[in-house]
Structure formats: C-alpha cells, structure tokens
C-alpha cells in the first residue's frame, strides 16, 4: 500500500507541476514544465563535460570526508575520553562552528585560490565540528559496564580505547559522518556557486547567468538525486560496518 501511495505522490506532483506551467500561472522563464526539464536532464546525463564537473564535486566530497574523518575521529576520541579536555574544547568548537564556513569563503579564496584546495578547506572546516562533537558524544555514551570489563581484564588505556571505546562510540561516529556528509555536499556546492572554478555548482551558475532555467532545474534535480544517493551509501556503509548500531538493529 505504502509504495503505491508514494508512487502516486510523485506522479501527482509531476502532474501538478505540468498543470501549473501549462496554465501559465507562472511565466515559463521562471518555471519551465516537467517535459523540458526532463529533456534537459537527459541532455546533461549524456554530456561528457557535465560528468567531469560532477566527478570533480564528488571527488572533493569524498576526499574531504575521508581525510577530515581520519583526523577528527582520533581527536574526538581523546576529547571525549579525557574529562579535562571536554568542556574547553566544546566551548571552542561551539564558538567556531557558529561561524558558517560559507562566511569564510572569501578568506578561503584569498588563501587557496579557486581550485580544489579551496573547496577542500571549506568542506573540512565545515565538517570537522560535527565529526568531533559526534565522536566525543559517542565516547560519552560508552556503557560504564563495558569499561569495567576492560579494566577487569587489565587492558591498557590505548587497548581500551581501541577495543571498547571505539566500537561503542562507532554508532555515534557513524551518525557524525552522515551529518558531515550532508553538510559537506552543501558546502562544496556553495563554494562552487560562489566562485570556484570547477564543479557542478559552476555549471548551475553558468546556466543561471545565461538565462537557461530549464537547465538550472535539471541540474538541481540531479544534485538532489546525488544527495539521496550519497546519504543512502553512507547508510548502507553503516549497516555493513557497524551491525551493532541501533540504526541497524
């Protein structure tokens, strides 16, 4: 029943969209109909250059997520584990994350120019805070009983960190990655929209400035699809790698 309803919902939305454009309620320049947009989607999907830009965005996203993650998770573990670090770092983190990374775009451009480095820096700055905070939070949710077990087995601190704390914190870390993934995509696109030299965002800007709204809408649909795909992938990874997380049970 539910899949039927969902399919009906999508169909209804497209029909309403078509009706609105045909009725001329909104000028065609502002809102092209579903047919031209669908046609443009196909055009884009078969366009070599679009793929290259797409890949550029995706690569930046993956790199930033991976490298920032490698740095953030160990630091986050330490912050979460050692009480004397916890409060001061949380204060600093909350302060710094109040400055949206997009506000630092001019700075990033000053330092790194308009290329991959700049985008990487922007994404890294944006996602390191949720990664740190969620990792630290994951550490704090470790069951004290599990720690007692480790101590009764006389494990050293590093061994406990890796053997008990890390797996217990893993669901929290995973949720941090999911959030970071979403934010990362937003930031990459922002950087591309606002001045970077390559990436899907630059394509969107170009179409907008050359007054081709149907391409703009097509691009957005594809970006949305990318967003769904990335979130799905992260979710699947979590299920495979962390079967004990509450989300998987």
């Amino acid at each position: 029943m539910t899949p039927l309803l969902s399919a009906a919902g999508v169909t209804a939305a497209i029909l309403v969209w078509a009706a609105v454009t045909v009725a001329g309620v909104v000028p065609a320049q502002t809102l092209p109909g579903p047919a031209p947009v669908a046609a443009r989607i196909l055009t884009l999907l078969t366009d070599r250059e679009f793929y290259e830009q797409f890949l550029d965005t995706l690569t930046t996203w993956v790199l930033a997520l991976g490298i920032t993650g490698v740095v953030a998770v160990p630091v986050g573990l330490l912050i979460g584990y050692f009480a004397f670090l916890r409060r001061p770092t949380e204060l600093v983190i909350h302060g710094l994350r109040s400055v949206p990374s997009t506000a630092l775009l001019p700075v990033a451009i000053l330092f790194f120019g308009l290329g991959l480095q700049m985008k990487f820096a922007m994404v890294a700055y944006a996602i390191i805070w949720p990664l740190l905070l969620n990792t630290a939070y994951g550490v704090r949710s470790v069951d004290p009983t599990a720690m007692y077990v480790a101590r009764s087995l006389r494990w050293s601190t590093p061994r406990s960190l890796v053997g008990v704390v890390l797996p217990s914190a893993a669901p929290g870390i995973a949720s941090g990655f999911r959030i970071a993934g979403g934010i990362g995509l937003v930031v990459v696109l922002s950087a591309e929209l606002l001045g970077a030299s390559r990436g899907i965002g630059t394509v969107l800007v170009r179409y907008q400035q050359s007054d081709q709204p149907d391409f703009v809408y097509a691009g957005i649909v594809l970006v949305g699809a990318l967003g769904i795909l990335l979130q799905y992938t992260l979710g699947q990874l979590e299920l495979r790698l962390i079967p004990w997380s509450p989300a998987a049970r």
């Binding site: 919902g9 770092t89 204060l91 109040s98 930031v187 800007v205």
Partner: protein, 282 residues
C-alpha cells in the same frame, strides 16, 4: 528520589574558589587560541590576517556605539545587520510554521506521509544552497530572494523532526489517554504536542543554524545590503579587517541565537531535561 549531592566540609570551604576555577577550566583553550593568533599575526605579518586585537577593535567600533539614542548600534549596523536579521527572522519563522504545521498533519495522517515521502526525501537531500540559482531566477535580487532561500532550506529539518516526534508517541501513553477518554482536542494539546515537543525543538534548533548559513550565503551571492554583502564588499576593496569583523559578527550572532534558543528550550522543556538527567529510583 529527588537527587542532590551534599558537599563535604572541605569542599564547602573551598566553595568560593570553585566557580572561578570551573569557568577557567572551560575557557582556557579559547583564551590560548586567541592569544596565539595575536602573537602569530602581528601587524603587517600577513595582509589577509590582521592581529586579533585589530579585528576585535574594529568589531566593536563598526557595529556598536555608546549612544542609547541609537540603541547602542551604529548606522552601519542599521543598514546592514538589521536587514540581514529581518530576513533571517522572516525566513526562519516561515520555515518553522510550515515545518511544524505540515509535520503535525503528516505525522498523524499516515497515508498522507506515504504519499509525500519521496518528495520530502528529495527535498531534504537537495543541498539548500543549490537552490540559490533557482530563487534568483524566480525572485531576482531582492530581499524576498533571501527570505525564500532561508525558508526553503530550513523547513526540512523542522518538518522531519516534527514528523518523527509525532510518530514516536509511546503506545502506552496513547492507551492511557484513551482510557481517560480524552477528546480529540484534549489529546492533541495535552498529550500529542507535549510529547512531540522535545523532538520539535531539536528540529527547530538545527534549522536555526541552517537559516543562518543560508542568510550569509544568499547575501554573499547576490545582495545589496546585509552582513554577507559587507563581507564580500570588504574583500573586494581589500579591507580585510572589515571582512574579519563581519565574520566575527556572524559568529557572535550564531552563539547568541543558539544561547537564546537554549534558554527558551530549557524553560519550555524543563520537564524533559530534568527527567532525562534524574534517576527513576527503585
């Protein structure tokens, strides 16, 4: 049992020192970082990175003035910060209203939720900044463009969290309410809404952060006034101190908004915060 930790005699004697020590323990890292910045970036060291003292000085000077007649804010503040704040307020309020309203309906009415689910997922996965070109196409370079982008981007978090909050209503609570024979209206206002409110507030908090980001982004891209505009303008005219001053402004604004929100949340959800923290007893 109602909990509370008794103080031992030695701790009580040290009591007057405890507060300052705790504050120090929280802020030492922040202070260290600020001092490090000041030491590293002396005047002239880097064009792009002025000393922290210069930034903080400019921050105070540009935005605030010691004049109650002007409500303690400069003209610069009036012409730039106020429009930004207005856009933020309008956009976020719209997002909250739509998010909570639609969220309540969809949370209660399952078929409607199934119907709209793919669209919601699509909407929430689309990075809101990607909508920037579209809102420009539709609204041009006006304040409405900023408000629209903020509203469109921040409503998802509220919507989804509201739906979650409604759907996670405990079945035992529902049975209890039914056994008390509460009418529809009483059930909605006295059971459903309070039960969902922690989740709704969580969604509102996240959406506030997103709204702030979108406010800045939309103004960086295309605006003739506003904080983002100030940032871009300062950068293109090589007045980097002004640029950093605007960045600090956004940061402070973010902290303030979060803090205010936290206060309101703590008041409304008093029962939740304490019940999660307190023990249930035997």
């Amino acid at each position: 049992m109602v909990t509370g930790r008794p103080l031992g005699p030695r701790a009580a004697a040290r009591g007057w020192l405890e507060r300052p020590i705790r504050v120090l323990g929280a802020i030492w890292l922040a202070v260290v970082l600020l001092v490090a910045w000041e030491l590293k970036f002396r005047p002239g060291e880097s064009v792009f990175m002025p000393p922290m003292s210069a930034i903080l000085g400019a921050f105070v000077q540009q935005w605030f003035v010691l004049d109650p007649g002007q409500l303690f804010v400069t003209d610069h503040f009036q012409t730039n910060a106020v429009p930004s704040l207005l856009r933020l307020a309008q956009g976020w309020t719209i997002a909250a209203a739509i998010g909570i309203g639609a969220g309540l309906v969809l949370g209660i009415w399952r078929p409607a939720l199934a119907f709209l689910n793919p669209l919601i997922r699509f909407g929430m996965s689309t990075p809101s900044t990607a909508l920037l070109p579209i809102v420009i196409v539709v609204f041009g370079i006006t304040s409405s463009m900023n408000v629209a982008l903020i509203a469109m981007g921040s409503t998802w978090s509220v919507l989804i969290n509201t739906i979650d909050g409604v759907r996670s209503l405990d079945p035992t609570m529902i049975n209890a309410a039914r056994s008390l024979r509460l009418g529809r209206s009483a059930f909605f206002w006295r059971v459903l809404l309070p039960s969902a409110s922690p989740q709704i507030f969580a969604g509102l908090r996240i959406s506030l952060g997103i709204a702030l980001i979108l406010m800045v982004v939309s103004e960086l891209y295309a605006a003739t006034s506003g904080i983002g505009h100030v940032m871009v303008f300062a950068k293109t005219t090589f007045r980097f101190v002004d640029m950093w001053s605007a960045i600090v402004f956004v940061g402070v604004l973010g902290l303030l908004l979060n803090g205010l929100f936290g206060l309101v949340e703590a008041r409304v959800l008093r029962w939740k915060l304490e019940s999660s923290r307190g023990a249930g007893g035997s």
